[in-house]
């Protein structure tokens, strides 16, 4: 596992380097005192993992996450738990470590990483491209193509490298991303209301403050997505 460390404090980087030595197959290929240098490096070198500090001057870890193209797995290292929780919604973020990082906590992180890299899917992968765009979507589970009618899909939730598609009767776990499935869904019915959720907004029961209710599920609405949702609704 090839990794880089991005942190403006050399003491913090030194600790992560030392902790990485305790993980078999973990190779620290470079360290960077700022996010800009790391971005330049990633333009010509690919890595499997980034240990990323959130609180850095000029370009923060959150800025970095927004800017990096095709991000590898990321572990946040921070003193600000709140920042970390905010960023944790990104599907490529595997874990966050609050400084000072203990050896025990780092080992737990290593286990999470191992699971993230070697995940054996319970149900097999990938959304199918051959589908009827108007009415339904086929998902490939264990070499079986299952047809889901758009009108039956209620909620799609990002869960790491997977998405969970919830219908009235079933839940399907598929190896895909919200971005991929969003391209297959009709805009007339579906809307992303949070970085981890796409909803079938025709199935909304009610909207209260920053959440919507679909059947018995309360789904958060992010501030940036709220105006579009309100625009799509037939408001009196």
């Amino acid at each position: 596992m090839r990794c880089i460390i991005v942190d403006d404090e050399s003491s913090a980087r030194a600790i992560v380097v030392e902790l990485c030595k305790t993980i078999p197959n973990m190779e620290v290929v470079a360290e960077f005192p700022n996010a800009l240098e790391a971005l330049k490096f990633l333009k010509h070198t690919s890595v499997d993992l980034i240990f990323l500090d959130i609180h850095m001057p000029k370009l923060t870890g959150v800025d970095f996450i927004e800017m990096v193209t095709d991000p590898p797995k990321i572990v946040l290292t921070t003193s600000d738990k709140d920042f970390a929780i905010e960023a944790y919604g990104y599907e490529f973020i595997v874990d966050y470590l609050v400084k000072p990082i203990t050896q025990e906590r780092f080992q737990k992180c290593a286990t999470k990483l191992e699971n993230a890299f070697n995940k054996l899917p319970l149900e097999k992968v990938e959304t199918n491209t051959g589908l009827n765009e108007d009415e339904d979507l086929y998902i490939n589970i264990d070499r079986r193509l299952i047809k889901l009618k758009f009108r039956d899909i209620q909620i799609i939730e990002a869960q790491g490298d997977y998405i969970e598609i919830k219908t009235q009767k079933e839940r399907y776990r598929v190896h895909s991303t919200l971005k991929k499935i969003k391209e297959k869904l009709p805009e007339s019915r579906f809307l992303q209301i949070h970085r981890s959720f796409i909803i079938n907004f025709t199935q909304i029961i009610d909207i209260q403050d920053n959440s919507v209710l679909i059947e018995r599920n309360v789904i958060p609405i992010s501030r940036s997505n709220r105006p579009e949702l309100m625009q799509r609704l037939n408001l009196l």
Binding site: E9, I15, L19, T22, K99, T102
Partner: protein, 107 residues
Amino acid sequence: MAETPNLDYIKEISGGNEEFEKKFLTIIQTEFPKEKNDYIEYLESENLEESAKIVHKIKHKLGILGLTNGYKLAVKFEEDLKYGDTKLKEEFHEILQSVEEFILKIA
């Protein structure tokens, strides 16, 4: 009784690797005095936003040196500084002083 800096955490991380311990202490000995000076300069010039950023960096070192209460105070002080409140200044300075003395002792 006031807590005192210690090397327990560094020794735990190093697993007995003396080379790492030495390298790490050199980093602390280099970074801490500069951060302390920057912090005081920003505070004296009433640039509390920048002094909060330095406190953020220092608090990590307090955690590394086993100053659990010092770390908690730094968390609070960093937040206070962002709102222009310096009432924890004296307590924080005492912590800085104890770290400085510790660094000199282990040099």
